[in-house]
Amino acid sequence: MTNVDLARVEFAFVTVNHFFFVPVTIGLAFLTALLQTAWHRSGRDDYLRLTRFFGILLVINVAIGVVTGLVQEFQFGMNWGAYSRLVGNVFGAPLAMEGLAAFFLESTFLGLWLFGWDKLPKRIHLLTIWAVSLGSVLSGAFIMAANSWMQHPVGYTMVNGKPQLNDIWALFTNPVFVWGYAKVLFAALVTGCMVMLAVSAWQLRHGGDREVFTRSARLALILLVPAILFTLLVGDELGVVEGKYQPMKIAAAEGQWTTCQPCSFSLFQIGGGNNDQTPTQIIEIPHLLSLLATNHWNGQVVGMTPLNNQYNQQYGPGYYVPNVFIQYWGMRVMAYLGMVVLVIGVWGLWLLRRKTLATSRVFLWVAVWGAVLPFLMNTAGWFLTESGRQPWIVQGIMLTKNGISPTLSTTWLWISLIAFILLYGTLATVDLLLMLRYSREQLPPPRSEADADAPVPAVRY
């Protein structure tokens, strides 16, 4: 493997791992805040017990989210020095804003929420969990603005061959950002709901408090169905936006080598990758790709071969086609699993309506294992987005192979890659074990009537 390959594997590895924790944090912080608000409003003890129960799961996740986030912040400089030097002027700003405006908020208020149960007035304490949720949502906004700039650079001029920021608002009105960020938020909500649903389902299957966990399952399901629908719809619109600014990404997601009009969408195909451009087996739906990529029944999708020729004219000789296999299947894994999640959600709502959710063992089993789906979807989605930008690190401005720190030795890269794999492997195992353990924990016992007005004890290490 070359240095660039190693650095890319390392970045992909730490980022994919980091993004296991991020959507859980964004989703669960919001859901926990909702539960606590419900307790605050209704005074029902069930909601307090659920808040405390899911709060512990949230905290376990945030801890790892923060420390793996530190790695993300350092990665750009450690391995991608040339990239940082060239684009730090634009790219650094949203990153620093993320730290100042979002991370401080999230981390400080999580401490206040966790340890402040018996030290803060109830209303202020409720505000702290909303501050945590706001912090997690804001941090997503800044990092997505930075990432979207790599997909579709805006708000800059070139000075001495370096992009110089000249309009900060352009970064936050970038259409790739607007749609990408919306998609990340909905996907995070889907992830949080699926985790909450799975934990509730496990509890219902294993003799947990039926009334209480039906309540949390209901909350998860009611939010899940609109969230996954919006994820799919926003994802579709994001496809159209990217088709406009990164046509190669969309063409590769369909394995479309030649220009077509109208274009059909293939549900499944074998071959058709970078080396054998003619697929051997296809099940097609006519007009669907035209609709997905352009919003028009007879829209035109330019194929990868003509695009590659055009880029050769524009940027000089080179091969500008990303890995078609990753694009094609990243897109499909994401979309198909999204459909499965939608089916689970609708099925659950139907059972809720019939009041048989808690006893439907088949559904509960499916819901427990369904927790894996959002993580696979999210990862597939990021592969689609990031691999689809290749060979660019910043679309049209810098190639990935030129972004690496020039004097980095192969040995260093191997050492750091292996170190991160070992470290994250251990972390992920411990985290998963603890999540499973605490998901199976019993609810905190209900508080007696006499305690109802007493302060809730704080959580401590």
Binding site: R52, I56, V59, I60, A63, I64, V66, V67, T68, L70, E73, F74, F76, G77, M78, N79, A82, S84, R85, G88, N89, V90, G92, A93, L95, A96, M97, G99, L100, F103, F104, S107, T108, F109, G111, L112, L114, F115, G116, K119, Q164, L165, N166, I168, H206, G207, S405, P406, L408, I415, L427, V430, R437, Y438, R440, Q442, P444, P445, V459, Y461
Partner: protein, 359 residues
Amino acid sequence: MSSLIPFWYIVIAVLWTGFFILEGFDFGVGMLHGIVGRDEAGRRAAINTIGPLWDGNEVWLIVAGAGMFAAFPGWYATMFSAYNLALVLLLAALIVRGVAFEYRGKRDAARWRRTWDVLLTAGSVLAPLLIGVALAGLLHGLPVNSAQDYTGTFWDLFQPYALWTGVTLVLVCALHGATFLCLKTTGEMRERSWRVARRLAPLTAAFVIGFIIWTHVTAGTTFFLNVIELLAILAVLTAAWLVYDHHEGFAFAATTVTIASCIIAIFADLYPNVMVSSTNPAYNLTVHNTASGAYSLKVMTVVVIIFLPLVLAYQTWTYYVFRRRVSRQEFQPARGPTTPETTTRLPTMEPDGKRRPHR
């Protein structure tokens, strides 16, 4: 030259200083929690003095790094690439430390907790050591070529001056942690914190004075020490005296000034360079040849002026909310099993793995 360039250099120095003032005692508590705590209840009490605070404190490091990226991308790129492996170690130390807080109490087994205690202590020593080595390297010079790329090896980072700085910061953090524990614990633990502080004080003072003189010589500008350097020496001597004289609040204030002036001394002596090249002084990275464009700096200035006071306000409030001392008695096993959730009890497992309801 934009006047925002020196301003941003000051902001970066402030962020690093803030990080060390706050996370400094977190590191110290991490190093000392076993010595001051002694038994499980004591160790938990020690950890809970920083429980609600450490996560917010660590963000100062993230923001210091991100601030360098935004304001001085050239500095960020060269420094982080040069320190690549050292940063991997630092990240490992910080990660292990961070999850140790969260995880050590999540299982009620002595061996599980002992493992996390060892990792917490090791991570808390390693982190300030490595950051000290890294900051010192900026001043004493590293092999950097004309293209601002690092050309040295991993071992080039560990110059004697850098190691001395690392050890100094470890000691200062330990003393800072000890005076913090004096303020935040009760009874026997408070006494033990005093004893630890008294034992650390003379050694720390010696190292700080050595560090300041060595820093002054390395920077090699004038014969006389500058104000900050004098302040550091004065502060550490005051801290040592106050520790012996049992002045709780003032001792902590003095260690705060010590740690702050040590960090500021490095940044003050470094300016206008940000990274000295040992290959050729002409290749030095300076605030001017690494800075972002004027527009980026202007945007970031607005952001920092709005948000930094806000952050300071709510972090100060956090310290006010958790101002109470933590006592060992709160964690005595008699009060119930040592689960993190005081209201949660561990499920009782039947041999067949089925749970039975709580009695």
